[in-house]
């Protein structure tokens, strides 16, 4: 017994629906601050990637005749040089490479672990949930600096250790956020419908739970990236970060701060890059939160 359809309807193309993601994207595109932030971030990222081609100077070349020189266009030192006579413009961009990479990779690691861990704990619930979350609490109580210094002592200074250390700390908050969201999503009828259809638990988590908790996760992610960049800068400032001649914004700012009075350009340029990047991520996060917030709908 089938419903009579209008003639030829079988030939009609299926109408494309607008998913919630598409709706959110449209709302985001209407947010001017978020658009500007995205454009600026894209420019900074492109500059970081194209750094070797944007300046005639290599990042580790020392110009003995131009140590701590102010910005000058004749020699194409747009940002001046640092205390060792290296071009600051190209070093700032190389610093952007490290800082952005640390930010994105460490956030990626925390995202992967945090989402899976939090969704599993929240979905399974009961004793397993308590056990898993007590472990998170335990990790939270570990002093972070102590953890980093310990890693450095055991494995030596290595940029990948920074990713590991930062990721290992950042996923804790992510796991808590995802668990909370999962607890509210798993009570909804469509999860029960999936159970009734005989869908396996693992599939329910990956197919239903995770896509539905992703909104707040994405917002938190854009706020984690600047936090990680800041932490990396802090570690580098303390001398626990990247190793010479490689640099990061934190290292550059630390060096600049020491020469603040004699060579202010050494502080101003890296610091403004860092500040602009952090602003942009925060504005983008704000825009995403407004775009994804279901209460707006």
């Amino acid at each position: 017994m089938s419903l009579a359809l209008p003639d030829g309807s079988e030939q009609l193309l299926a109408i494309e629906g607008r998913s919630l993601w598409q709706d959110a994207w449209r709302r985001l595109l209407r947010n001017k601050a978020a658009i500007v932030a995205m454009i600026l971030l894209a420019i900074i990222a492109a500059m970081a990637v194209l750094a070797p081609w944007l300046s005639p100077h290599p990042y580790d070349e020392i110009y003995w005749e131009r140590i701590q020189a102010p910005p000058d266009f004749a020699n194409q030192h747009w940002f001046g040089t640092d205390g060792n006579g290296r071009d600051l413009f190209v070093r700032t961009l190389y610093g952007a490479r490290v800082s952005l990479m640390v930010g994105i990779l460490a956030t990626g690691v925390s995202l992967l672990i945090g989402v899976l861990y939090g969704a599993t704990a929240g979905f399974l619930g009961g004793r397993i949930d308590s056990l898993m979350m007590r472990f998170v609490d335990f990790m939270y109580s570990m002093p972070f600096m102590f953890f980093v210094i310990l890693l450095m002592v055991v494995f030596g200074r290595n940029i990948f250790l920074i990713f590991v250390a930062l990721g290992a700390v950042e996923w804790l908050t992510m796991a808590r956020i995802v668990r909370g969201q999962t607890l509210s999503v798993k009570r909804r009828d469509f999860i029960e419908a999936a159970h009734a259809a005989g869908v396996r638990k693992r599939k329910i988590i990956t197919r239903h739970i995770i896509p539905n908790v992703l909104g707040p996760v994405i917002v938190y992610m854009t706020l984690t990236i600047p936090q990680v960049i800041l932490t990396e800068s802090f570690l580098s400032f303390l001398g626990l970060g990247v190793q010479e001649p490689l640099t990061s914004w934190g290292v550059l700012i630390a060096e600049g701060a020491q020469q603040m009075e004699s060579a202010p350009w050494m502080l101003i340029f890296p610091a403004s890059f860092l500040a602009v990047t952090l602003f942009c991520f925060n504005f983008l996060g704000d825009g995403l939160r407004d775009a994804l917030d279901p209460k707006d709908r």
Partner: protein, 335 residues
């Protein structure tokens, strides 16, 4: 009726509610000792006030909630004894339609993906084209235009969402559908469409249906038999016509008299049995017969003993100490 599909024996669902800090808990008896059978092609209506355990009963039968006691026997096979994998396999015959049509659909998936989910789960070898053909066929059968396959749930009305829910439940050609208040969230005009759709599907596929509702007028329209539930206990179970024409249980009588008659003159004349008091808390149910605190015919015995379920005659059972003394009320309403 034909072949017996489902037998529910003495089914109970108790939730342990924690009290205080010391890990103590007291049981909430959501469903207590309910038994019935269901045949292929038959609809059993389950009625009762909100909070009486109707939905819990439906979910316990599908083992979406673990029953505390009793058995659910499906085609001669006790569901409680099955391993998780075997149960998952059986789920293709047991489906459910939910009360809130929009909440039952994953907002991040298209209608096509939602309807296909049981199919993809149980027949993983099926190709994309075959899945699409099956989805479009069931969409047409449930009154959805197949062009809407790529739409998302929030773009639909409540009635359409409920059709999607029904299509999802129907795509594997199940033998039993539990309809948990499938129309109570919908407009009256849409209710009629959905109820008629369900009845049409039942007739063409020989489905067995458990139709859970608080609306006796709807239940009466779809059901062959009706089970009246109060505080998780079975009060009366009878053929639809018998129950409405000659209700024997005081609770059923009150329930039927509360249904409005679409005729003002008769509505004014009818004698309505008004129950006094509130529905007791299921955490602290009355001793003996759970209905006795609101029953106009209660006697001391009702507080002392739990009434047994007794047959009035074949196919009509009742849980009341005094049913033989009380008059069978004439059909005041609904006639």
């Amino acid at each position: 009726m034909s072949e017996q599909l489902l037998r529910v024996e003495d089914l109970s669902v108790h939730f342990a509610l924690p009290t205080g800090f010391l890990g103590g808990h007291r049981p909430l008896k959501a469903v207590d000792g309910v038994s019935f059978t269901l045949a292929a092609g038959e609809t059993l209506g389950i009625v009762g006030e909100s909070g009486c355990g109707k939905s819990t009963l439906g979910r316990a039968i599908l083992r979406l909630i673990e029953p505390t006691a009793g058995r659910v026997v499906w085609q001669g096979q006790p569901l409680g004894a099955l391993a998780a994998d075997a149960l998952r396999g059986l789920r293709r015959d047991l489906q459910i339609v939910f009360q809130d049509p929009l909440a039952a659909l994953d907002p991040r998936m298209t209608i096509g993906e939602i309807i296909a989910e049981p199919l993809v789960t149980h027949e993983p070898a099926l190709g994309r084209a075959a899945i699409r053909a099956r989805v479009e066929a069931i969409m047409a059968e449930t009154g959805l235009l197949p062009q809407l396959i790529n739409r998302y749930p929030h773009e639909f009305s409540g009635g359409q969402c409920q059709r999607v829910g029904i299509a999802r439940a129907m795509i594997l050609q199940p033998k039993l559908i539990v309809c948990d208040e499938p129309v109570s969230a919908l407009d009256v005009s849409i209710q009629a469409q959905i109820v008629n759709l369900l009845m049409r599907l039942q007739a063409s596929h020989g489905l067995a249906m458990l139709f859970i509702s608080h609306d006796l007028a709807v239940v009466r329209h779809v059901s062959h038999r009706i089970l009246v539930l109060y505080l998780g206990r079975l009060m009366e179970l009878a053929e639809c016509h018998d129950l409405l024409a000659a209700p024997r249980h005081p609770y059923t009588q009150a329930l039927i008299s509360a249904v409005p008659i679409p005729d003002p003159a008769r509505e004014r004349r009818k004698r309505r049995i008004v129950l006094t008091g509130e529905l007791p808390s299921p955490l602290d149910p009355p001793s003996g017969c759970v209905f006795r605190t609101r029953c106009p015919h209660a006697r001391p015995i009702c507080a002392e003993q739990i009434p047994r379920i007794e047959p009035v005659r074949f196919g009509h059972s009742i849980a009341c100490h005094r049913w033989q003394e009380l008059p069978a009320t004439p059909p005041a309403a609904l006639a």
